[in-house]
Symmetry: C2
Subunit: 372 residues, 2 copies
């Protein structure tokens, strides 16, 4: 019998984040069939809780059967047709990926750039929209996991909708940790991941699409290039419960991951969204104060609470420091990504891991390892 | 606290199949980061065990981060470019899906058809290849989950390779239950699912690609239309361990699902592939004898051992019978799919569920419910 079992880590990198025992226990419940009435009830409940956490009434709100990037791809392949003009905001790795994904869908992409670590001014987006009246969609990352920049979203939909375009938001590293208000902010499509601030293992990508998005989908002239992520087919499975019709089998959903997500969402809702956002803010302030006291500097001008991206101090050994944190303390923090490789560390305070205990521990460990 | 926990079922449908407790326990091990050395070791071990179970030495053998249909799509988007001519064999739902997926990749698809329940004669494929010398790829389903037909694969690669094409095989419902010999049979790319004969929850799709497939990938003129499934990027993460280079982060893999797959593969290899295939054959014979004694008739001319597709007998109530099996016995069997809806039942004997105990139980339950 294989008894190998990994040593537990304190996950303080860019995700996955620590998973509560309650969620791990739910994950290991007996596997059901994907058309079992018990499972369908669990899935409907999960979708309803997702609506609450995303603050939306969108009927089409469900977990895509893949990790966060599958959510990005799901939104892109359904809402973009070859030849469409779109705007993508790029100020880090994930904006860059969104551009790549949209281009693979055949889109002509107008890029709105900001330096890594900065946010994108709304008036810059308005300017590009004014010069390109054919744009159908604007894509932007709420929480840029590569730089820790916290992008303001509120108010952007008005600018985008005034030009007849849709607003697509990447909320992978913000949902469940920062305020995310799909309906109030007028977001037309949004995707996230389970392994960040929702406190669930990776494997699903919550997605929501509003009326404008569904109208775009219905008006398509071509099939989406992905069968696996085709929402026209997926909605016959996920939405039939609400729509009254019979469910149409599409693919076998990751059953046990759905159990885990439901439990994770239950924990989020028990805490309450406002309390949860406040907790993430408070631990971020505590970490920030401690890091700055040590002379460490934040890279983004407007930092996320959930991910803290700091410059590696002069003379410090990047890989050696991370290795000592991992080996001596069992703490994982993240390396720099993209142009920030070797220049930045990323300390995550997400979901179950966003605690005073973890903040004080990582500060103590960094002080010891860096000799500060 | 949410204490809802599903009632256990005896899963004897077309998948998911019953998951051993060992696998469920592995699934709930502490979540690690996707770049943690411990996780990378677990992943490398998982890929090595997959090679053994697939009987291949292909370095590129790994679990795609999605369910079985994601594996089909992964193979298609990487090996097909717009304008490519391909052959797809269609004798049920999954061959039909392969055609759809290939067309969404821009392929011109030549269909080789057989009636549902029949297998595809190799000489029919040879004929289509002879008439269409530009064909680059032949796709075929080894275990057609919609009809229970067991397609012979051995000998086909010689026909396909002689015309300069590649052989792609769907082994979703056969891997771990029937003989699947990637190298001996000359298969160039193959995908499967975790939730059938491997005895793992759904959520991953094991894929392998051989030299011809990788050469085709390297010769592409365009990027694959999917970023999430782009093997040129994925191999930098999954293969770096063997290739000596540094691993390049692509996406966050479903960590806990990898634990489960490793444990499930360990169970397969402990039993031994030959013994496992023999066990599936033996329980199938026992079930078949019992069903035929009751006057029930198999639909496919050449039946899978892992999935038993039978005609619903005259006068029997399709949904009512399945509901009684579920409610009174906790047994799930499958309904007919596609053109067989309302006409067939599908009884799975897969992995952990392929036992004499389950055979005798389902026979007793059917006898009672059908009054035979």
């Amino acid at each position: 019998m294989n008894t190998q079992f990994p040593h537990e880590r304190i996950l303080m990198g860019p995700g996955p984040s620590p998973v509560p025992q309650r969620v791990l226990r739910a994950l290991s419940a007996p596997t059901l069939g994907h058309l079992d009435p018990q499972y369908l009830a669990i899935m409907d409940e999960t979708c309803e809780m997702l609506r609450q956490v995303m603050r939306t009434r969108n009927p089409l709100t469900f977990p895509v059967s893949g990790t966060g990037m599958a959510g990005m791809e799901c939104v892109a392949v359904n809402l973009v047709e070859p030849g469409d003009e779109v705007v993508v905001c790029v100020n880090g790795v994930f904006g860059g990926r969104m551009k790549d994904v949209m281009e693979r869908c055949g889109a002509t992409v107008h890029v709105v750039e900001a330096p890594w670590g900065e946010t994108i001014p709304h008036d810059k987006i308005a300017g590009v929209l004014a010069r390109n009246p054919g744009v159908r969609l604007v894509g932007i990352v709420h929480a840029e996991t590569s730089t820790g920049a916290h992008q303001p979203i509120e108010g952007l939909a008005e600018i985008v909708h005034a030009k007849g375009a849709m607003l697509v938001v990447d909320a992978v590293t913000s949902l469940g940790g920062h305020d995310v208000r799909v309906d109030d902010w007028g977001i037309d499509a949004l995707y996230s991941g389970t392994q960040k601030c929702l406190g669930c293992p990776p494997g699903l990508s919550p997605v929501t699409m509003g009326e404008r998005a569904l109208a775009r989908l219905d008006a398509r002239k071509t099939k989406p290039q992905s069968w696996y992520l085709d929402v026209t087919l997926l909605r016959k499975y996920y939405l039939a419960g609400g729509g009254g019709g019979a469910r149409v089998y599409h693919h076998t959903a990751p059953i046990n991951m759905t159990y885990a997500l439901r439990e994770a969402l239950a924990i989020v809702l028990e805490e309450g969204l406002d309390a949860r956002v406040a907790r993430h803010a408070a631990v971020h302030q505590r970490l920030r104060a401690g890091l700055e006291q040590m002379g460490l500097r934040y890279i983004p001008s407007h930092s996320l609470h959930t991910l803290n991206c700091i410059s590696i101090p002069e003379g410090a050994d990047d890989a050696g420091t991370r290795r000592r944190l991992l080996e001596e303390y069992g703490i994982e923090i993240g390396a720099g990504l993209g142009v920030m490789a070797g220049k930045a560390w990323r300390i995550g305070l997400m979901g179950h891991g966003a605690t005073v205990r973890n903040v004080d521990l990582v500060l103590a460990a960094l002080r010891a390892v860096l000799g500060r």
